[in-house]
Symmetry: C2
Subunit: 335 residues, 2 copies
């Protein structure tokens, strides 16, 4: 008896929920309010509709709705240099008192005199030394705290905003829109995995296990009788260019059906995504808004968009103009 | 007007759903029916209650409810040898016609004569050669299909069951119970990640991106004008012993609050899990059921349980007796 009443009530409740949910969907406001109506927005909405509508020839089961996003230049800004490099420069200053020898040693000597250009003139070896010095030697828990403290307090040299407030509002809406449509959203970035994970859940709604990135090797050890993982100054994996499909396979183990990037470093990820069967979606953010953000593409050292742009045009991938397609760039600042 | 009616209907529907769901929960049957009432079952239920009850001093937010499971010997059987090795032996037979030179080359010569012991007498180098020969040289998509076909058809030499029907029914219930309580369940196995991912979602409800395992290196390449990832005969990562906490950090990026294993290969994963703050849970499956499964521990070559057992006893981790704690071992066979 209990069961029959319960089941009847349950069916009524479910039906009511369905009816109301459908009515809501019909009356719902725009899920992408910061996107201007145009070809880019339309291509997104059209793709999501066709892979989610039951009975659609392009329907994709929810557990295969994998979407991957580059981070630097796609979800947050990357000028005047990658934010992770700005973090590393800040760390050099903090660590300098423990390293008196840096006064006479490049790239640290130039850096500590405030000559960032001079320090980075040493190219990749110089940058490598700065990154390894600031990203290794501590435990994973210690590094997590260092990053958490930095993003809570550090300010961008140009906008004076917190770095996590230099994420793109239209992309936050896109992430939420895809998740509301059953997608699992991942970051696949050339940036350091340990540098992103402390804040991606709070800022993007992407939990640590859905972040793929470059990494250093780790060592299992014991400190004060407790097990720790120590970050070694040795590269484990570089998640960039052809490394992105490799990183996707190793971490996610499934080919995405949608991928989002902004530079030549994302080209192979977009190729890998669109080479799968069924409906596929690839999007490139073009930084063409010198007024509200930065304008750069083919000749930029950071976020070079050259070959991937040509391929996007040739293959009909969606190219987003920040200037024309986005109503706003950043979310409102927190108090 | 529409909105007010809609909102009212929605509230009614939501309330009804809540009421019915609560009634159902109250009347619900045992979520772990294949577990005998005893200390092991009680320790699981007690832990889950205290981390999920709002207001409990040990409450853990849902996004931090990470549980990691070893696979071989914890979720499915591993005797008379790891199933992945049985897969590799089957593959050698299938590939033999393309390799006439194997007739005179160990370990293949012995294997093809049916002398498995002789083939494995070569120890790790012999096993390494068998694994690399059968797990590399093809694309990731091709390997996925090979594994999918094998698990659909191959039968265990002793039980004559399909391998994916030699999973432990009590552990299937435990996985479902944890997920119903907001946990995210991961596999963290010494086995090959590409060997597990094709079937873990169907068999365990664990999607590919929540599988951590050992892996080979991958190479981005083009075949017939299409991008592919080729499996190279080169080790990328060994997810065993101290490699398990490293694999957890690299893939999941968060420390589990509960971990489940059966051998010394899981010891560091359980240490890493229990060394975190707040309520923690560690469990070891002890294979002591020679009648319904196999009985082995300290002196077994496969699934050695020696040091981890001592530590479990010393630290009060839960030790499951398959003989006493489990009503059944395997789920019913499919037709």
């Amino acid at each position: 008896m209990y069961n029959r009443i319960s089941r009847t009530l349950f069916v009524i409740a479910s039906l009511l929920t369905l009816v109301v949910a459908s009515a809501h969907a019909f009356a719902a406001s725009d899920p992408l309010p910061s996107w201007n109506d145009g070809a880019a927005k339309k291509s997104i909405v059209t793709f999501v509709a066709k892979v989610t509508e039951k009975g659609s020839a392009d329907f994709v089961a929810p557990d295969e709705r994998i979407a991957t996003f580059d981070n630097d230049g796609t979800l947050w800004a990357e000028q005047p240099m990658y934010f992770q490099l700005l973090f590393a420069l800040d760390r050099v200053k903090v660590l300098a008192p423990q390293h008196p020898e840096w006064k006479d040693k490049e790239p640290f000597a130039s850096l500590l005199k405030g000559d960032v250009k001079g320090a980075l003139a040493g190219g990749e070896p110089a940058i490598g030394e700065i990154v390894m010095t600031t990203h290794a030697g501590m435990t994973t828990d210690e590094f997590d705290k260092i990053v958490t403290d930095w993003v809570a307090t550090a300010r961008h040299p140009v906008t004076k905003r917190r770095y996590t407030e230099m994420v793109y509002q239209p992309m936050l809406e896109l992430l939420a829109y895809l998740r509301a449509n059953g997608f699992k959203t991942f970051i696949v970035s050339g940036g350091g995995i340990d540098f992103m994970r402390p804040w991606t859940e709070k800022v993007y709604g992407i939990p640590p296990d859905q972040v793929v990135g470059s990494s250093g090797k780790l060592k299992w050890d014991t400190r004060d009788g407790k097990p720790v993982l120590v970050k070694l100054p040795e590269i484990n994996f570089i998640d960039d260019k052809a490394g992105k499909p490799v990183g996707i396979q190793q971490h996610i183990g499934e080919r995405p059906i949608a991928a989002f990037g902004n530079s030549d470093g994302d080209q192979q990820m977009l190729e890998w995504t669109t080479a799968g069967g069924g409906a596929r979606f690839a999007l490139i953010v073009h930084h063409d808004d010198a007024k509200r953000e930065w304008a750069y593409d083919r000749t930029s050292h950071i976020g070079t968009l050259d070959k991937a742009w040509d391929e996007a045009v040739a293959k009909g991938w969606t190219v987003v103009s920040m200037k024309d397609d986005w109503k706003t760039i950043y979310p409102p600042e927190r108090k």
